[in-house]
Symmetry: C2
Subunit: 180 residues, 2 copies
DNA sequence: AGGACAGAATGACTGACGGTCAGTCACGAT
DNA sequence: ATCGTGACTGACCGTCAGTCATTCTGTCCT
């Protein structure tokens, strides 16, 4: 058993090592401008190994997208639990500010997340990492929806629009503006 | 002189022929999924000729983007001159509806335009077609700004926000929502 | 200790594709 | 008839995503 968990730890560490290298290279040169060879070299690892951990170049990039989504969700949760925000509306506003901050402090991750949300995903054939991204994105949206519902319950947000629809459309507007 | 103009016509026709083929292939398989060889074959032309008319694959795609921007501007002008719209606010609303229609009736062109607007352009080195796209996009924005200004003059739009900023931000919000 | 086995890791190789260019061809001018 | 121009071709090049036969390494068993 010990041997197995040591193995698992080593695998996880390798994954992180490759993702760290991918982050450095992709965020500097962009998806098109980056070769998998370059990522492998930056990770001081062979190309074959990269393909042992990620099905293809796109899934490798989605590994970064997932990191971005995790960080974003973390910030959204933090914002919605902030002491200053009492009503649902105030919480939603805090989440919006958190999103704006995220886009400014992690432009690379923001672009990755934006690209993922803009891309249409084919549920018929989605990779492992892609599926995880879909789940995380849904988690973020659920959080926003819950906050809107809270606002509708406490009277700070109008109730004539379904919560999820409101959450999505305001989010899209915010996103559109942040992106310019 | 006649010979020259016949030459010019033939060149323009070839350009259109290539763009038509590019439209069919790019909009079906996407930018990444399309090879220049495939476009050349669809246009019943050699690959070399495609590169005689367009500097590279991206500029070829931008040729389609420009078509999209032209159609969009046409619709925006039409909407802003519509008989039903009297005030600036109503005209702006009509333009918004036109944009929504455009996105539904020409999803391929909409995506091309959206991708162009999301991409950051390096003014230091922009291609011929790219420059034309920049100009067209500015034209569209100028139109929207003018309509907002009209609305501010006739009292249908608040004046506490600069017209261009208002035009851009509302446009971004609309765009964000259309894109979902 | 040593051998056997599993999975980690390598890097040479393949095929596809973006882009180039030497050369051909058609046509108008002289 | 000859020449010059420019449209047009397609073989070719370099690069890069993705594959796979092979080698290495650590673990377990005797």
């Amino acid at each position: 058993m010990q041997a197995q968990s040591r193995r698992a730890d080593a695998k996880a560490a390798r994954r992180i090592q490759i993702l760290d290298a991918a982050e450095a290279v992709f965020f500097e040169r962009g998806f098109e401008g980056t070769s998998v060879d370059a990522v492998a070299e930056a990770a001081t690892v062979s190309k074959g190994l990269v393909y042992l951990y990620f099905a293809n170049k796109h899934e490798l990039f989605l590994g970064l997208t997932l990191r971005g989504l995790e960080e974003l969700q973390r910030r959204m949760v933090e914002a919605s639990e902030s002491a200053e925000a009492d009503t649902g509306l105030e919480k939603y506003r805090a989440i919006g500010v958190a999103y704006l901050r995220f886009s400014q402090e992690h432009p690379g991750y923001f672009r990755a997340v934006a690209a993922f949300e803009a891309s249409e995903i084919d549920p018929a054939q989605l990779g492992e990492v892609e599926a995880a991204c879909v789940a995380k994105a849904r988690g973020c949206l659920d959080l926003a929806t819950a906050v809107v519902e809270e606002g509708q319950r406490d009277g700070s947000i109008r109730t004539d629009v379904p919560a999820r629809l409101a959450a999505v459309s305001v989010w899209s507007q915010m996103h559109g503006v942040i992106q310019h």
